[in-house]
């Protein structure tokens, strides 16, 4: 019955496109999570929140006054400052919370990241008291790209900023893969994650590698925040955690938690599950339930994730 009523454009094409775009954000969050999982063997529950910090900062830099100072930065500058601040918050997290908990059980370190998440949201509310609904303009809104531009794909038209999200994800994933394969620092991160003692005996500074890892993760989280919040109507404290944390962690787990390509694929998968669920089911919370079921089934049947390789 439902099959007869199927509308190929809105039920097949549109979810495909929207799913890939939505999934790109999860993929970006998952990349950062995988990176930190490799080095610390934990999930960083504050990962998505670095993105909120970046987006909020960019918003205040671009749109006007914070602390009474009318900043009015050019869009690109504001975004840069946002990413800088988001990354900085990851660096601070590493120095103030992760470092002191280095030799504690993993559960303790994870709870530490939960504390960072909670503190971040609270600070966002206290420092960025938004009176009205805020929103960060996207590349198109500020005229950097042609607003009339549309990509026709699977019977659905996509705007520039949406394509951009996917491009950014692809670029970041490729960048991360190349970083681990070819760069000295990337290899050092892998070495520390596999055998910290041996890494120290060859002369790698564990503390510097840890800082580097968190810096990169903060950068990835910040970029995720900018691309997913840019152009979205609502920017409030905690928004990235609310919209992308669960999706991001699920994506990372589906991809095997230590695999960069896995994070990429996992992200797109979660995005697609979300969008197709929305197209076919209408009960409240259907998306969350479906993602939860997928996660549960995957974890029960492949405890190491779908693509559990150490790359």
């Amino acid at each position: 019955m439902t099959l007869l009523a199927l509308d190929p454009q809105t039920q097949l094409g549109q979810p495909l496109v929207l799913g890939i775009i939505e999934g790109s954000v999860y993929g970006l969050i998952a990349l950062g999570l995988v990176l930190l999982y490799k080095s610390n063997r934990i999930f960083n529950f504050a990962q998505a929140e670095f993105g909120t910090i970046a987006a909020l900062t960019a918003y205040f830099g671009y749109n006007g006054s914070l602390f009474g100072i009318p900043w009015h930065m050019p869009w690109l500058v504001a975004v840069f400052v946002g990413i800088l601040l988001g990354t900085l918050s990851a660096v601070l997290t590493e120095r103030l919370v992760i470092r002191p908990l280095f030799h504690q059980p993993k559960v303790i370190m994870v709870v530490g990241t939960v504390g960072v998440l909670l503190a971040s949201i609270a600070v966002e509310y206290l420092v960025f008291p938004t009176k009205d609904t805020a929103s960060l303009p996207s590349v198109t809104d500020v005229g950097l790209t042609d607003p009339a531009f549309r990509v026709g794909f699977a019977g659905y038209n996509v705007a520039w900023e949406q394509v951009l999200t996917l491009f950014v994800l692809i670029a970041m994933a490729l960048g991360a893969a190349a970083f681990f394969r070819y760069s000295r620092q990337g290899t050092a991160i892998l070495a520390v994650s596999q055998e910290p003692t041996a890494a120290a005996t060859v002369g790698i500074s564990i503390s510097r590698v840890s800082l580097l890892t968190w810096t990169l993760a903060g950068f990835l989280g910040s970029v995720a925040g900018i691309v997913s919040i840019g152009g979205a109507p609502l920017l409030v404290p905690g928004i990235m955690t609310g919209t992308a944390l669960v999706g991001g962690i699920t994506a990372a787990v589906l991809g095997g938690v230590t695999s960069m390509p896995g994070a990429f694929v996992g992200g797109l998968l979660v995005g697609l599950v979300h969008q197709y669920t929305q197209a076919f089911f209408s009960f409240p919370g259907a998306q969350n339930v479906m993602v939860g079921l997928v996660l549960l089934i995957v974890l029960l049947s492949f405890p190491r994730g779908l693509l559990g390789s150490e790359t």
Binding site: I42, F43, F45, S65, L66, F67, G68, I69, L96, V97, P100, L101, Q104, K106, V107, I108, V110, V111, G112, V114, G115, V116, L117, L118, A119, I121, A122, V123, Y125, L126, P129, T130, K131, G238, T241, G242, V246, I249, T250, V253, F283, P284, G285, A286, N288, V289, V291, G292, L295, L296, L299, L300, P303
Partner: protein, 384 residues
């Protein structure tokens, strides 16, 4: 009597008088009696203030949630980030049983407990296969999935308007309901104590230390893990029932993200700040975090700070006077959490331990035995 410190074998039991190597003096008993009396009076005081007692009920419910989560986090060592799901489920079932089936309040709460216990058992089954980080993820997803789906069904929300229920007339006053909450907390607190000193408690501890070793000693991992989850779920369901009748309303919004997620994190904060596995610490932390919002909002200087901020040259033009105290509260919570993790792993419980031991008829000793601090220093008793 003068307490004679006898160097001798310390009996391993916690029994107060019998078998103990020193005896309580008459004044000792009197002093402790007074302390208990004082505690009872303090617990009873909110009863006089209707509005405040409603806040206090919430604090007691938080304390119950602390005990519930403590069983999972503190006793079995698994992190749950979805306990708001159990609280909400308890509230949902209790409220709807009263509203739709018109059953008496206590029966409705029993159904609430049954429902959460059953769901917790299912989660416990999952926890048999999936542990550690992955389990914490599963609980996170569980909390957000159940609250956004089941909790929001029109069937259970009186067509999205919220289920209004009322307490029986003999409990109509907020103060009376507060006393009910306190009574429940005391009973659960005692049962939790019985649990930890029982065979089950020791088995759980062994499991937390090392599952495989425990299994080698013939401790059935499966049964005990399920039991822990079931107990945790049952307490949360009870808390949910108390919650529903406290506000005489079930509204899914209380448990849905972002509120729900904040709640889940708050429960974790309570457990850690209270001291993982430490019953008393967790309860005190729960009470503290239940009250802190209200207290901060009412605090004179918070108002003063806010109105003062309006007049600061640069900040003032931007400062939003509506910034809620709850954000300040969650900042305090987060900072306390991190402080506890990094500097003071025993949590509040370790600080309260000397007092708790004195109250249960031991000497007042500042040393921290069995805590997470350095090994106990012998003979550092302060006074009897």
């Amino acid at each position: 009597m003068t307490a004679v410190a006898q160097a001798g074998t310390q009996p391993g039991t916690e029994t107060v008088v019998a078998g103990s190597h020193w005896r309580l003096s008459g004044t000792g008993i009197a002093a402790r009696g007074l302390a208990y009396l004082g505690l009872a009076v303090v617990l009873f005081l909110p009863w006089f203030a209707t509005d405040f007692s409603k806040t206090c009920s919430l604090a007691v419910i938080y304390a119950l949630m602390g005990l519930s989560l403590n069983i999972v986090v503190g006793y079995t060592g698994q992190l749950s980030l979805g306990h708001q799901g159990f609280l909400g489920l308890g509230a949902l079932v209790t409220a709807n049983v009263v509203f739709q089936a018109h059953l008496p309040i206590w029966l409705a709460m029993a159904f609430g407990v049954l429902a959460t216990t059953a769901v917790a058992l299912v989660l416990g089954l999952v926890a048999l296969r999936i542990t550690g980080l992955y389990l914490s993820l599963i609980t996170l997803v569980f909390g957000s999935a159940i609250s956004s789906s089941l909790f929001a069904l029109a069937r259970f929300t009186d067509n999205n308007s919220g289920v209004k229920i009322s307490r029986p007339s003999y409990l109509a006053d907020n103060g009376d309901w507060y006393l009910v909450c306190v009574a429940v907390l005391l009973v659960i607190f005692y049962l939790d104590y019985r649990l930890t000193v029982s065979k089950v408690g020791r088995a759980l501890l062994a499991l937390k230390e090392n599952e495989r070793v425990a299994e080698a000693f013939g401790i059935g991992v499966t049964a005990y893990k399920l039991l822990a989850f079931a107990l945790s779920g049952a307490i949360a369901g009870l808390a949910g029932g108390l919650y529903a009748f406290r506000g005489e309303l079930y509204s899914e919004k209380d448990f849905q993200d972002p509120n729900g997620f904040t709640l889940a994190l708050l429960f974790v904060v309570m457990c850690v700040v209270g001291g993982l596995g430490n019953r008393l610490g967790v309860v005190v932390a729960g009470l503290f975090f239940g009250l802190i919002n209200e207290l901060l909002d009412d605090l004179f200087y918070w108002h003063a700070v806010r109105s003062w901020m309006q007049h600061v040259p640069l900040l003032g033009s931007y400062y939003d006077s509506d910034v809620k105290a709850s954000y300040l509260a969650s900042l305090i919570g987060a900072l306390l959490l991190l402080q506890t993790l990094i500097f003071n792993r025993g949590g509040l419980g370790a600080q309260l331990r000397p007092i708790a031991r004195w109250m249960t008829g031991h000497r007042f000793e500042l040393h921290d035995e069995g805590g997470s601090g350095p090994a106990a220093v012998e003979g550092s008793s302060v006074r009897a």
